[in-house]
């Protein structure tokens, strides 16, 4: 059977290389009539050039709000970015004017969403939409823009691009629509693609092709910030993973390290949900997530008094790997993580023992 092997980019980049994107202590809250939600509550991470960083978590974990805060596309109000810095190519996007942000969104940072229809206008042909995206950022003749539009469609793997360019979005299948949305995102040759659940609405055979497309883009030097709830999609694409819960990052590390030794009890429960049918205890389904200390403590079978209060626990290294950290007291100097690591065999059965490298 034909297969496409993929080699990962090295995880250990030299520390002195300036990251493309550097997010520090980002905080976004959402005010509704009834309550204020701390959707993003002190999130820090970096994305290097050519790297795929994956933000993993369930609905409501804050992963989408995090990414929408970076370029200011989160609706304000009800959202309000109340703190932190987002440095992109040396400037703080949180202090940039709306017009600067708009220009960066089109040219340097592009977004792709779960539902490609949100990026496509049903009454214009995909060619018109591509040409528009191209000419906004580039002084270029109409015919050159059309030529480039065809090229973009080819680049994202749409067969018969010169003919399909005159088709309307509804004439494409869901997977092809997502390719068109990616082509529009690529129109200005962005340095960073922020993709929020880009494969969630498509079938697995289509997803496999989109995964290959995203790999080609990062192989070409683009950085990708990928948001997904699907641990399999992250495994297929990420160089590094950030696991989010309750508006905070609870674990982070290179994909291989984190997947072979998931450390935070929340991460481990996520892996558990891929196997077996064990129900969680009698956790209240409507329980509010704490807004201090470890946000997961109310659902954590290992929680201790010290998990409550103050800031989230610091990132302690897991397994002596400097790059793999968990925001969990058990990995600190005063505790022993053994009870967590031995808690559940299911986690390890999911990942095949690495064959000798």
């Amino acid at each position: 059977m034909s297969t496409q092997p993929h080699t990962t980019t090295p995880q250990d980049r030299s520390d002195d290389e300036e990251p493309l994107l550097s997010v520090d202590d980002l905080r976004t809250r959402i005010r509704t009539e009834r309550e204020t939600i701390h959707a993003v509550d002190g999130v820090s991470f970096t994305v290097n050039r050519g790297e795929t960083v994956c933000l993993v978590g369930e609905s409501g974990s804050g992963k989408s709000v995090t990414c929408e805060s970076l370029t200011g596309i989160v609706p304000q109000p009800p959202a309000e970015i109340i703190g932190g810095t987002v440095e992109f190519k040396g400037r703080n996007l949180l202090e940039a004017s709306e017009s600067t942000l708009r220009s960066i969104r089109g040219t340097e940072i592009a977004h792709v969403f779960q539902n490609p229809q949100s990026a496509l206008d049903p009454v214009y042909t995909v060619g018109d939409q591509l040409v528009e995206a191209i000419t906004i950022h580039e002084e270029i003749s109409e015919s050159d823009a059309r030529e480039r539009a065809s090229e973009l469609l080819r680049q994202v793997g749409i067969p018969n691009a010169p003919t399909r360019i005159d088709d309307y979005p509804h004439e494409f299948s869901g997977g092809m629509q997502q390719r068109v949305a990616i082509a529009i995102a690529l129109a200005a040759d962005p340095a960073l693609l922020i993709a929020d659940e880009p494969t969630t609405a498509v079938d697995v055979t289509v997803q496999a092709r989109l995964i290959e497309l995203l790999r080609e883009l990062t192989d070409g030097g683009m950085s990708v910030l990928l948001i997904t709830h699907d641990l399999r999609v992250a495994a297929a694409l990420a160089d590094r993973v950030l696991v989010m819960f309750g508006g905070t990052i609870v674990e982070r590390g290179p994909i291989e390290a984190l997947y072979s030794q998931p450390a935070h009890p929340y991460t481990r429960s996520l892996f558990d949900s891929y196997d077996g049918l064990s129900r969680r205890g009698d956790r209240s389904a409507r329980g509010d997530i704490p807004t201090d200390g470890c946000r997961f403590r109310d659902e954590c079978p290992h929680a201790i008094d010290a998990c409550a209060g103050g800031d989230q626990p610091p990132f302690y290294t897991v397994d002596d790997r400097k790059t793999h950290g968990a925001s969990c007291l058990y990995y600190g100097p005063e505790h022993d993580p053994a009870p967590i690591l031995h808690d559940d065999a299911a986690v390890n059965t999911l990942i095949e023992e690495p064959t000798d490298d």
Partner: protein, 453 residues
Amino acid sequence: MTDHSTDRSRSPAVQPDHDTQSDAAGDRAAVPDDSHPLLEVENLETHFPITRGLLRREVGRVRAVDGVSFEIRDGEAFGLVGESGSGKTTTALSALRLEEPTGGEIRFDGDSIMSLSGADLRAFRRRAQLVVQDPNEAFNPRLTIGQAVAEPLALHGMDDADRRQAIVTDLLERVGLSADDVDRYPHEFSGGEKQRIAIARALVLNPDLIVADEPTSALDGRVQSDVLALLDELRREFDIAVLFISHDIDVVRRFCDRIGVMYLGEIVEQGPTDEVLEAPAHPYTRTLLGSVPSLDPSDRELVRPLTDTIPDPSDPPSGCRFHTRCPELIPPEDVDLDRELWQTIAAFRFTLQADELPAAIEPDAGTTAVDEATVRETFGLPSDIPDERVDRGVDDAVDAIVRGDLEVARDRLAEAIPTVCERSTPSDGTDCERPVRCHRYDPSVDAEPLSWP
């Protein structure tokens, strides 16, 4: 739990004759094997007419379900997996007669349901309940969830309001909500909670079968896991059979005893879940499983079908419906090429046929004409193929592409590399311990099953 909880042993007055079933709860072996299956689906066909013009003249038919057979025993969970357009949802709805089948036979508890109507159809539907994917669509926003769950009881003739209330309260507690929730409205609940309530409502009439159409697809992570575990727990406790529709292999693996894999209206393979998923036999099942990324990040291989185009269900390919995409397509009998080369040539043929023209050979891709070398490079075709007839066919096709005559190229390839997969319709093969609709499992066809992985 309230005091009423024990009342619901097996339940509402509507169906006293099934009370004894709960005794067998959780003990699957207790179901005698010689009994008839609860649900028998034989050669089911559900076609939708395509009409045109004022007179709505029928010009074609979408063969959404086209000759599907399976059975579900008491208390068994049977899964139908497949991608969009495979017909799995139509199969499920047809099994409940929520879509009208155009052919075949469906028996429930031994009796045909094909011609039921009126009170008989209602009685059947009391015993076979549906849970849908989107819990938001399942509820009337103006009814409290207590009213919503009680509604089927009232509709089916339980007049005693106190009794209804007791049953509803008990069921809500069983699905993890509290008695206090009965007076709340659907919008006050999360997606996972709403799906729990939908399950409670499906259970309230004490059914023998639940048809669950992607019941956890709108949920993710642990919430999905919880709802799935709940459904599993309840179906074992009450010995309810489940027809489970899903596109998600992880979900099916955890929930179903047996599965059927659907492609373009047919079940291509069915058997015990573990066997099908661990040793998939049909090339489509293999392609499907090979497309799901591994949880092991060092294993990033993804299987690729010959072509990406899913054929139109109103005009499915002749022979085996998967042949236009099948990586295990059977070569002509007298052709003996190594597997990779044969795949390359087959991909060449069906890529042209599906009109998936790669950029390099598009007719008006650029100003320069396409040359032979470019065509060969694009499709990975060697200049010499160690089979005279195939070699000539490929040469002719390449020449035709260079001349811009794709039609001739397609015809020439079809003629040079015929395949039994296109020519004849496979039946469920016997070369495997379970039904696999592929010529490689048919002893009369000169082709062996390929190994997996």
